[in-house]
Symmetry: C2
Subunit: 506 residues, 2 copies
Amino acid sequence: MTGSWVNSAEILGSDLPSELSGAGNRRSVLTGALREAISGGRLAPGTRLPPYRSLAADLGLARNTVADAYAELVAEGWLAARQGSGTRVAERAAPVAPARGARAPERAARPVHDLVQGRPDPAAFPRTAWLASARRALATAPDDAFGPGDPHGRLELRRALAGYLARVRGVRTAPERIVLCSGTAHGLRLLAEVVGGPWAAEEYGLPFHRGLLASHRVGTRAVGVDGDGARVGELTRRDRAVLLTPAHQFPTGGPLHPARRAAVVDWARSTGGLVVEDDYDGEFRYDRQPVGAVQGLDPEHVVLLGSVSKSLSPTLRIGWMVLPQRLVGPVVAAKGEREPFSSATEQLTLADFVDSGAYDRHVRRMRQRHRRRRDRLVAALAERAPHVRVTGIAAGLHAVVTLPPGTERSVVREAARQGLAVEGLADYRHPEATARGAATAYREATARGAATGCLEAAAHGRASAHEEATGGAGGARDGLVVGYATPAEHAYPEALEALCRVLPPG
Amino acid sequence: MTGSWVNSAEILGSDLPSELSGAGNRRSVLTGALREAISGGRLAPGTRLPPYRSLAADLGLARNTVADAYAELVAEGWLAARQGSGTRVAERAAPVAPARGARAPERAARPVHDLVQGRPDPAAFPRTAWLASARRALATAPDDAFGPGDPHGRLELRRALAGYLARVRGVRTAPERIVLCSGTAHGLRLLAEVVGGPWAAEEYGLPFHRGLLASHRVGTRAVGVDGDGARVGELTRRDRAVLLTPAHQFPTGGPLHPARRAAVVDWARSTGGLVVEDDYDGEFRYDRQPVGAVQGLDPEHVVLLGSVSKSLSPTLRIGWMVLPQRLVGPVVAAKGEREPFSSATEQLTLADFVDSGAYDRHVRRMRQRHRRRRDRLVAALAERAPHVRVTGIAAGLHAVVTLPPGTERSVVREAARQGLAVEGLADYRHPEATARGAATAYREATARGAATGCLEAAAHGRASAHEEATGGAGGARDGLVVGYATPAEHAYPEALEALCRVLPPG
């Protein structure tokens, strides 16, 4: 001890002098070491530090370096300097427990096989093409792209999407009517705020979406689902909006019947209600051309919600809302001047990705891949579980495997036990729908499905439409929702194997 | 007319046959043309289309192509096919007004000169370095980076930030305690949800933040601000949290005094309250080392919020919350499993940007640039308006120009008239604070500022601390908040000129 203060070794321990003699920023090394010594408890509150001249001499540092370090730590509250009594460790700077790693929120053990719907295989992300687009986008972006951002979203991407959606989904819109968002969930929240409740929703659908609406004080009333999609005849004047999945009823699998497309637009026109079209996998249809969006039938009464989450990656957080003109202003206002959410650099990258044709190529490649996987699923089930029906297979990233009544829960549980993540239809059922008689729903579904299915089959001249219409029916039935896009290529055969193992014997 | 149906020219107009003979997807050209003809009103509801064989022969297309196009449009509801009566335009598909461009939400005419605070010059975005980081990030990212995303945020970026913030801001944390978000606003919303109200907030601050908290049912009570920053002695047991800007009181400009840093941590420890540290421009300090974060004094009672919005670009939508351990789980839960918001590819790019030293280099370059701009501002005012005081200039992207009492409103209005966008202090004042007596506040501020300013100046041996302590005082006073980072380099001198023109004569 020199006088009444601690010496440099007590302050710094044994490691630091070497760093201090290096070429780096000595003051910041010294302040870091002092903070460490105080927070770690080596220097107790009240401990007197040597005058900066002494410490500077001890450490071979310039006086200013030490004086500045002291001043910095005084400003931060680690040290206290008082005229006449020197510099001391401040009373407040008691040691706190070092940061222990926080426990991550509870997670189930990672399953060995993953057939949960809704996720494209992350290994399929087109890194090279995406980077090429990023390069072009960053090279050509105007400066204002790096400014505060516009809640409407970059015009470049809205233009690219207006063209793409017209071409691929039959959407009729203009860039001014598209508002970019971070995904379908974000779009739903904005609509809940702007439109208010109550809404109608399909009796099968994402509970996440219903919960999200509920958290914005928008209750949802269940509308029946059968082989022709949602029974839109059940809509009333009370419903402010209806949330539909017309391209591929989620998760049961059929497209919304043409007559019902017309009927739902009629409902919207006559009641002022809004059709919210969740076009979640509209690009992935295998047996014929994609069914165009309902939005094209009446752009003033239908909002189309889409995103790249299924087609490219959910990690990009880019989605879009194609809006009736009257909703553009309110939605932009609800989004808020300061909350653009999606990164503008990524918006520009996606604009280039779409405009350069890379998006089309990627979707085409993915469509072939999903289709192959679907075919393998159907083949595996035909061979290993011929008594089981697979429906909803004409499109999308998942299929529904029908189970004998009363077995769903035990099959899902057994799957989990065997390390296979897969969900049951019950996970998607609206609580209201569960209350309805399962038998009635099933009777209705098959009766209507058979009739309209024939009509649709006649129009298309294809057997799959009939299969889909009758088989994709809803009601309260037992089944597994099998997502076939998720596993890596090498892991898919084993996942199928695991699925066949847990199915009940015929 | 062939029979009772329209002919191909009526359907397609004159332009399309050439596209149909091209190499592209003929079916999609045909369906597009048909949709266009129906939606544009060329084909009225009920119009009968030729049998697909006839149209195919007319257009020189394969029969299947036309049959598939019809089927697609039937499925979409544009056409109706009935056994025996052929294919007709559906009754529902009435023409709707073509999408007129929606009016963009009302915007004030763009000002000629922009000295609004809070926005870095977008032309300064480091495109090349950012792209280099994007390239490395995309090349090395594990596949799961393109999966559904983790609301906690990518570990790579949390690791990079833990190191960076420790080094540059004296933050003590671990990657597990950092939760990524889309910016400070997002962080505040999450904390409002998790912590609940009421909060205390500085009597000068962003109205946007107070409004955002209010929209989450968290009221804010005003705490006084003087030359030593927030008067944290006014905090009570009732306040669940206090929102502070300790590095550089926003917008008045002083750092929080060491004694108050200790006091606010004491308050948090004894009441269980939370200190929310908005570290919005902690990296930009010009006259001495940055004042370290209060968070380092007590990581269990302080949340630090930061983002790249000021340092890099607000367009990236990346921010961070450095959390006490007990809040990590609740914040991640509030963020929601499906709402990662910030793009993972951009998170990884930023991680590389930080780890590679590019972020440090950019901040250093920006610091020099901001400092030069600040010096020009001070010099211009000294020459052109020597009677005016400039304060809060030791740090940040803005300064406060004090105005004679009662003149602020007319100066801001005159500036707007002359095409200069600049905000007055009143824009930032808490409504509660306005109610207090301006004279009292001013007396208090100068009295306290003079005393503590001397102390701080003694500790630092620099005049600027004294200037800042007395001059950065709050209370209800008149002033302009001058953001000097926003204009492009070439536009800055003229913006300064415009500012000098509108200042009241001495």
